[in-house]
């Protein structure tokens, strides 16, 4: 169950990498830090509504707080993603900048989010309030908490929703169209920037969702929490086949399983070493990732 839960976090974050890459061929290295910002946004919204941590708050009940915090976090986090796109990526795109510069910009944007957080809030860790009464269900020898079930179900629902949007709706078709030929999109009467902004909204709101669920599961927040998990999710997306939504989900869960599997057998200090070795092995066998096809796009 832990494997599935961790896999869900990786998967939710990997989806954001994959969406943006799938549409723009841009590796949004700031995405892990958007996840971190999502967790902090969740923290502030929750504390504001609930009270505590030296703030009086509105004194709402934990249940109501949770019900408001989830959508509020997703909306606010997606605004952060959109802000990055508008202030950093779009101007570069307009000038026809080489992809390398856009990727470096993304990397710097991520560092700015981390260090901005550090400057603003200091190095002290925040502890996330408890919003959900813990319930433990036992099936035979396995026991799960309600939170774990929620995390896993959320990841699967998000997957189904995104898969539907991308394959069935016109906006999804436009997203796929952009990845093939950006130039021809306006010729179809489609506002290019609107579709790109929509993509960032989708990706960042998923990171926001991952942020709040993560904060509820591991209630200690610090500015660098997005870095390692972001890297891992990115690698999961690549191993799954970056640009492919199924790939992000499968890659995420796969990484979760490998990590937990390794820890069950070896000392936990070997976890990342083993996990990444396995992933490297997969890429060695299939360089385009599990679901990836060799792309012939010409942008």
């Amino acid at each position: 169950m832990n494997a599935l839960q961790f896999g869900s976090f990786y998967a939710l974050i990997a989806l954001g990498y994959t969406l943006v890459y799938g549409v723009l061929r841009l590796i949004n290295f700031a995405h892990g830090d958007i996840f971190m910002v999502g967790a902090y946004i969740a923290y502030f919204v929750a504390v504001l509504l609930l009270g505590g941590e030296g703030m009086s708050g509105l004194g709402l009940s934990p249940g109501l707080t949770l019900a408001i915090t989830v959508p509020a976090t997703m909306i606010l986090t997606s605004l952060v993603g959109v802000a990055l796109e508008r202030t950093m990526y779009r101007p570069l795109r307009r000038k026809g900048a080489d992809r390398l510069y856009v990727v470096i910009t993304a990397l710097m944007a991520g560092l700015m989010l981390e260090n901005g957080n550090l400057a603003l809030l200091g190095a002290s860790r925040k502890s996330f309030p408890e919003l959900l009464q813990k319930v433990i269900w036992t099936f035979g020898s396995v026991s799960v908490t309600n939170l774990k079930v929620i995390v896993i179900v959320a990841a699967l629902l998000v997957f189904v929703l995104l898969e539907f949007i991308v394959t069935k709706t016109k906006i999804g078709m436009a997203m796929r169209g952009i990845s093939y030929d950006k130039f021809a999109i306006p010729l179809m009467g489609i506002p290019l920037d609107t579709i790109i902004v929509f993509t960032f909204i989708l990706g960042s709101s998923m990171a926001g969702l991952a942020g709040i669920l993560f904060a509820m599961s591991y209630p200690i927040l610090e500015p660098y929490m997005g870095a390692l998990i972001g890297w891992k999710a990115f690698i999961a997306a690549v191993v799954g086949g970056i640009g492919d939504i199924r790939g992000a989900i499968v890659g995420g869960f796969l990484l979760g399983f490998i990590e937990i599997g390794v820890v069950a057998v070896f000392p936990s200090t070997l976890r990342d070493l083993f996990a990444f070795s396995v992933l490297l092995g997969i890429l060695w066998l299939k360089p385009t990732g599990l679901f990836g096809v060799a792309k012939t796009t010409k942008i």
Binding site: M173, D181, A184, P186, L187, G189, I190, L192, T296
Partner: protein
Amino acid sequence: MNTLLEVKNLKVRYGNIEALHGISFDVKEGEIVTLIGANGAGKSTTLLSICRLPPPEAPRVIEGDILFKGQSILNLPPHKIVSDLNMALVPEGRRIFGNLTVEENLKLATYARTDGHEAIERDFERVFTLFARLAERKKQRSESLSGGEQQMLAVGRALMSKCSFIMLDEPSMGLAPLLMYDMFRTLKVLNAEGMTILLIEQNANLALRFAHRGYVLDTGEIVAQGTSEELLADPEVKKAYLGG
């Protein structure tokens, strides 16, 4: 006849290189007008300037104006030129979305339409009647279509966007003669139904037989213009573009 499109003294640049040195022409409602000229004359540049696609690919307008029904469209974003003015461009090289199916390509072109499901369904029927080969290949990834079929898809896509003015950049490129005549016959039918057409062609002979009027472009300047009959009879044009 009302003037639909009027290009006035248009100068455009790619970077610092001027590609059009102040050209003027117009297209009236219901007409077929052709723009002919050798490689690199600036034909595609002219169409791209009208559609004003986003940089870096698009040329930059330096001087002059482009009017649609008397209104300047120089400040209109490119997608609005398509969706609000019912213009369509079938660009050089077709530019279909190869990773989408035939049907998805056509559907995507209806993105900005607001005239309802039924009208869109009718247009699907019409495109599939005009281009029966597309109907047979609805679910096929469009990358795997033949060149001729891709050209049909590119035109079909323009029709799905509900255009009343269509600009075509070398639609005969890569088509076998038989398919080429088919394509031009289809365009004639569309014109008879009221579609205004601006056609770019390398094959000047074919283009002038098809169009009502024409302009001859040479290294960014218009060097001759007139009705098709006049141009076909013009000795200079004959010598340079019609093979004697």
